[in-house]
Every structure is written in C-alpha cells, then in structure tokens.
C-alpha cells in the first residue's frame, strides 16, 4: 500500500515561469517524489484530473471561461489548493488588461480586423482575476516566480502536514 500523497500542478493564465521554478528544485525533486506522486501536471502525460488529489499547485490567473471551469473542477477534487506565484495570487501581468474592455483588447490585438471573439480560443472573462476570487485557496505563495527554495519549503511543510510560513522568504514580485 502506498503512503505517498498525490500532487498535481495546473497552468492557467501564466508564463510557465512557476513551473520552471518547480523544475529548478533539481535533485530535491527526487526526494520529494519519494513522498508524493505527481498525478497530474503539464509536466506529465495525464489527460484527466484525478478524483482525489492531496495537493494542487496552481500557476496563473483566471482569465477565460475555460480557466474558470478548470479551477472549479480542480478545487472540487483537491484537498489543499496552493496559489503558486503572483499570477495565481494577484493576477499579476494578465491583469494588466483589466482597465481596458475585452472589446478594446480584441480590436487592438487583431489590429481592428476581428473585433469579435474568435471561436477557436477560450472566451475571455471581463477581468483576469486571482484564483481566490473564484474558489477557496488554502495556501498563498507569492513571488514572480517563487524561488525553488520557497516551493521546496511549501511542499515539504505541506507533505509533513504543516502550514508553511513564508512571510520572511517570499513577497510579491520577487
């Protein structure tokens, strides 16, 4: 019987920098994976989100209908949900579009040619917002991106059943 906890990561509206930071844990990853199994992630080949996950790290803001659907599903199947990095925590760079209307943005990016939302990409929400605006978040890990050391501390603490205290080691933007 496996006593390993299940771990997942998802990627919403972000630059993947936080996932890179996860990988930056290098050999410490191997030690972590002795305690946890990575059951779902852009880094592994798994199409559907499992029914029960102990810890899910979320990178990115909620910017589209699809992000919203995904985060609601993930929340319902996750025990401890972690907002990883500034995009998930504050909506960060994706939120820079928020003072503008969706219509204006679409007009601008398509140079006025296609003012309507194209059908083959997810529908944009009015604002890109942080994850906790939509679902309950258990742990917040600010940073752009949070360093590998910070992520390591978060995971070791959570796997050991402790609430991590990050106040002195990470902050918005760093």
């Amino acid at each position: 019987m496996s006593t390993k906890k299940s771990l997942a990561t998802i990627w919403l509206d972000g630059c993947s920098g936080c996932h890179m930071s996860v990988l930056d844990m290098d050999e410490r990853l191997l030690a972590l994976l002795e305690q946890a199994e990575l059951v779902y992630s852009p880094l592994v080949d798994q199409k559907t989100f499992p029914d029960h996950v102990d810890i899910t790290l979320v990178e990115g803001a909620v910017s589209t209908e699809e992000d919203l659907k995904k985060i609601k599903l993930v929340r319902s199947k996750t025990h401890t949900l972690v907002s990883l990095g500034d995009c998930a925590v504050t909506a960060n760079v994706p939120s820079m579009r928020n003072p503008l209307s969706v219509k204006d943005i679409l007009e601008r990016v398509s140079d006025g040619a296609a003012p309507r939302q194209p059908s083959n990409v997810p529908l944009l929400l009015g604002n890109a917002r942080p994850v906790h605006n939509f679902v309950k978040v258990d742990v917040f890990v600010p940073g752009c991106p949070p360093s590998a050391d910070v992520i390591h501390l978060v995971l070791t603490d959570l796997l050991a059943g402790r609430q991590p205290d990050l106040t002195s080691i990470t902050r918005f933007g760093k």
Binding site: S101, V102, L124
Partner: protein, 567 residues
C-alpha cells in the same frame, strides 16, 4: 412719527440699550398705526411654490384698494410646515393660510373685514403648532429678516450691548457655561468649554467662525435659520468675539443656499451701518468684523479642520487633531467654530441668563433643537422641540405620522454619520447620549422618516454612496474603504452577495470607523451598522432569498438578481 434724533446725531450708530429701546418703541408705534400686517413666507420651499408672486399680488391688491397706510404686506420667514407652501400669515389674529395662489389675493384682503378664508386656513391648534417650543425659531417668521429694526423690536441686540457694556468677557463665558448649551453641529461638545479654551489661548489674533456648511442630506435647519434670523446669528458671533478677544469672524455658508447668502450679507451691511459690527462697538475698545466665505459643494468642509483649509482658499482636507482649532486654527491662530444654531442660542442666553436656558431640556442636554422633518411623514418641515422630547412625539404628534396608511419603519437621524432607529425605540428621548446609545447620532438635525416602502439596505447603500463621493481622499480607509463597502452593498441589493461578503462588510465597517482621519470616515459605517443592528432580516432576505421585502431593489416577490451579462 417720532424720529430717534439722538441716533441721527451718531450717524445711525446704536451704542447702548437706550438706543435699542428707542428703536423698539418707534417700531411699536409704526405697528400700532397699522391695522393689518400680512407676512408672506420667502423661505426656499415657499419660494419654489411661487410665494414671490403671492407677495406681488397681495401688495398690488392692497394698493389698488388704497390700503397701504393701514395694511402692510411684507416678506416673512419660515412657518415650518413647508409641505403646505406657500404660506401667508395675517396679523393680528395669526391666521395661517396654506397653499395660497396669486389669485387668492383678493379673498385674503377681503377676509380682513369679513373673517378668515376658510378654504385656505391652517388649523394652528393642531399638534404641529401647539407641541413645539420655539426658541431658535421664535416669532415664527414674523420678523422681516431684511430689516434690522424688526429684529431690534423683538429684543434683538440687547444681548450684545448688555455683554459689551455691562459684562466682562469672563462673565459672558460663565453665562454660556451655566446655560449648558452644547454644540448644535452634532457632536454636542459643551459650548462654554469650547469658548473658554479659545479665550485662554494667548494670541494677538483670534477668529470666530460660523459653520453654515449644512451638508447633511435631508437637513435644512441652518438654511432656514440663516434665512430668517441672520441678525441673531451675527449677534451671537459678535458676543463670542467679545468673550474670546477675537476681532474677525467668518460665516462659511454653502453656495447652494443663495437666499441665505444674500440675507446674511445684507444683515452684515445693516449691522455695520448701525455700528453693531465694525470698529468700537458701543463706543468701546471692542471691534468685530464679519465676512462671508462661500463653500463650493464639499460635504467634508463641515468638518472644522477641513472648513479652515477651505477658508484659507485650499482643498477642504481635514488635518489630524490635536492641535484643535481652539489652539491653532485659521492661519494658525486660536479659532472658535460653532454651528449656526449654536450662535442663534447665544443672544437669548445673555439676555435672559444662562439659568433660564438651563431650565429647558434634560439634565445633560439643555435647550431646544430644530429638526428638519422629512421623508414619509405627513407634516414635513421645520420643527423645534425641547431636547428630551420623544421621537414618537415628533413623528406622530407633530409630524402627523406616516401618510397613506403605510407602516412606520425607521427614522434616520444624524445624516451620513447617523443611523436608522426602528419603531421599538420611538419612545427614546432625543438627546445627544440616547441617540448615540441607539447607534445613531444627533447630527445637525435631519430627521428622515421611512416606512414599509423603504428598503434599509438601499438606504445604507445611499449613505455609503454619499460618503464615497464626498470622501476627500486624504486617508486610505475612507478613500478606499467607502468604495469597497458601497460595492458590497451594491452586490447585496442585486442579489450577488454571499455571507462572506457580509462578513467582509462588517470587518470593513469596524476598520474604517476606527482608523479614518476625520468624522466623515469615522461616521461612514454608521448607517450600515445601525441597519445591520435593527434590520438584519432585510439583509438576509437579499442575500439568501434574493428578495427585497420593501420592493425597492426589485418589485415585491421578484428576484433581485439581474439577468446575467456576458463579459
């Protein structure tokens, strides 16, 4: 007619009590030569109902009949029952006519011989008239506010000349202290104490400011008092100037009150002409000048430090206190700031003594208070009662209760920093302490009655929107907190709020109340807190059932949520 010759010799200057007596006698003589005097109210409400035309047609009617010598038609002040404007009073007899049209002039003049015009007659034996105590609004508008002689005829300026010629500044302050008068701007700080603090401050220059920036929505007592009794306000300020050693006064009045501005400016000119303002008042060393400063539409300027910034010509931003204006106010000098109604009470206190005033009211709240009664009540208008009168008496006896068979729900007092008091507390006496214990505030005297057609969440939202718009933006809790609170209230009234939002609203209320810089922010949460205290069920109905019981946020029984909007 006797001419007061010794006055002419002094260039019209009035310098002692005898001069006042002479003028009063002269006025009495004038009055005795008239058979009738007809007063047409020229207050804001009556003017909006064409009382100027009524005045014109009455004047014309009298002159066509050649009765000018024995019948005087004159502009008068507020009768209080503004809902029945325009109002006309006929003296002697004191018949009060309501809803008078210019076309009624002939009937009114006819009535002088034939008896009252029944269809226009107001029942002055009704509680609205009999249950009031008129101190601030004495002579109920039957003094022409544009004639200083009219004011002198009813005892005007006895207070100032007594103070200046017979009392020491200390004795004046003693009388004010003995009277137990407290600030009528709302907070109820003892006036005598405030005066003695400024008097004790050592400075070559001191200032006296009259706060007439009546900003509370739903309050018009100060407007009415300034329009009707401008001389009394000036007299009170001059007495303060004498007691404190100040030589310069300012009346800071809202530009939205053009009539009040005109009246006070005219009164300043009149008082100057008669030596009751200016240099060497009553031929003593005491000089006192008054200037008008116009507000320009910023509620926060009712806060005394913001008002000072505004008089100095700047943005009306409040400053942390201490130092209080009493020590360092206008241009850094000791400054007294009192409300219009506070100054109005001063002259009678000096004239009749502080003990006389202290007999009226309750143990801790002396005197009377004017209230602007409005909203869902039958007799809207200006009322004055002794402090300690119950809310029930004002709303149901004087106000005549809620019209059209609706049910009383709450009364809002204290403006945007006040609260809504429900039916179960209608028997509470109105004084500074009891209103505060009920989660409201005396404020300057706005009293808005609400019935079952008012949604209390909507009312809270209305006040929060007011505070958010009127916040000066200097301190963060008020600038940002009021916006967040308004947004949450908005979510509640559109059925989008959760219980977590309500919890956050309560948390914001607590934080904004205790961290804001001035009274605007500190008071802003009060309408929410008081409606949450007494009408939480209405909040719950919006949040849980998505219904507005009063049918304001959506029709009765209808879902308040708006159709979903994409993007």
């Amino acid at each position: 007619m006797q001419t007061p010759q010794h006055l002419d010799a002094k260039n019209g200057r009035i310098v002692n009590l005898d001069d006042l007596k002479t003028i009063a006698e002269q006025e009495a003589l004038l009055k005795s030569q008239l058979k009738h005097r007809i007063f047409v109210c020229m207050g804001t409400a009556c003017q909006s109902c064409q009382s100027a035309d009524v005045l014109d047609s009455l004047t014309r009617e009298v002159s066509t009949r050649g009765g000018q010598a024995e019948c005087l038609v004159t502009p008068g002040g507020c009768q209080g029952n503004c809902a029945e404007a325009p109002l006309v009073v006929v003296e002697p007899g004191g018949q009060l006519y309501r809803g008078v049209a210019p076309g009624d002039a002939a009937s009114v003049i006819d009535s002088l011989k034939t008896g009252p015009v029944k269809r226009l007659l107001c029942d002055t034996t009704a509680p609205f008239f009999t249950e009031q105590t008129r101190l601030v609004t004495e002579y109920r508008g039957l003094v022409n506010p544009e004639r200083i002689e009219d004011y002198i005829a009813v005892g005007g300026y006895i207070g100032l000349l007594t103070a200046v010629t017979e009392l020491t500044p200390d004795e004046v302050i003693q009388q004010v202290t003995r009277s137990g008068l407290r600030g009528r701007g709302g907070a109820g700080y003892p006036t005598g104490l405030k005066w003695s603090t400024v008097a004790k401050a050592v400075s070559e220059q001191k200032y006296v400011i009259c706060n007439a920036d009546e900003g509370d929505p739903g309050a018009f007592m100060n407007r009415s008092v300034l329009e009707d009794y401008p001389f009394r306000v000036l007299e009170g300020m001059a007495i303060a100037g004498y007691a404190l050693g100040a030589t310069q006064g300012y009346v800071y009045v809202r530009a939205e009150y053009p009539l009040a501005v005109k009246r006070i400016e005219k009164a300043i000119a009149g008082a100057q002409r008669h030596g009751l303002l200016g240099n060497n008042i009553a031929n003593t060393q005491f000089s006192f000048h008054v200037e008008v400063r116009l507000g320009a539409g910023a509620f926060v300027c009712g806060e005394e430090t913001a008002l000072i910034s505004s008089i100095e010509g700047g943005r009306g931003l409040p400053c942390p206190r201490p130092p209080y204006p009493a020590e360092s106010g206008l241009w850094g000098h000791p400054t007294l700031i009192n409300n219009v109604e506070t100054y109005t009470n001063i002259a009678p206190i000096i004239r009749n003594g502080g003990d006389w005033f202290a007999k009226i009211g309750t143990e801790k709240s002396k005197g009377t208070k004017t209230f602007a009664l409005s909203g869902r009540v039958k007799n809207t208008g200006l009322v004055e009662v002794p402090l300690g009168t119950t809310l029930r008496k004002i709303i149901f006896d004087i106000g005549g209760g809620v019209p059209e068979g609706h049910k009383f729900k709450a009364v809002q007092t204290g403006g945007p920093a006040g609260g809504c008091i429900p039916a179960e507390h209608l028997d509470a006496p109105i004084d500074y302490e009891s209103l505060q214990s009920l989660g409201s505030f005396m404020g300057s005297g706005g009293m808005i009655v609400m019935d079952d057609t008012s949604c209390m969440v909507d009312v809270a939202k209305f006040f929060m929107d007011f505070c958010a718009t009127e916040s000066c933006g200097k301190c963060i809790p008020c600038r940002v907190g009021t916006v967040h609170m308004r947004d949450i209230l908005n979510k509640i009234t559109t059925g989008e709020a959760s219980l977590e939002d309500l919890a956050q609203l309560e948390e914001l209320c607590d934080m904004v109340k205790y961290t804001s810089l001035c009274g605007l922010g500190q008071g802003a949460p009060n309408p929410v807190l008081s409606t949450l205290r007494y009408f939480k069920d209405e909040y719950m109905a919006h949040i849980i059932d998505h219904l507005c019981p009063a049918g304001v946020c959506a029709g009765k029984g209808q879902d308040i949520r708006r159709p979903a909007c994409v993007l």
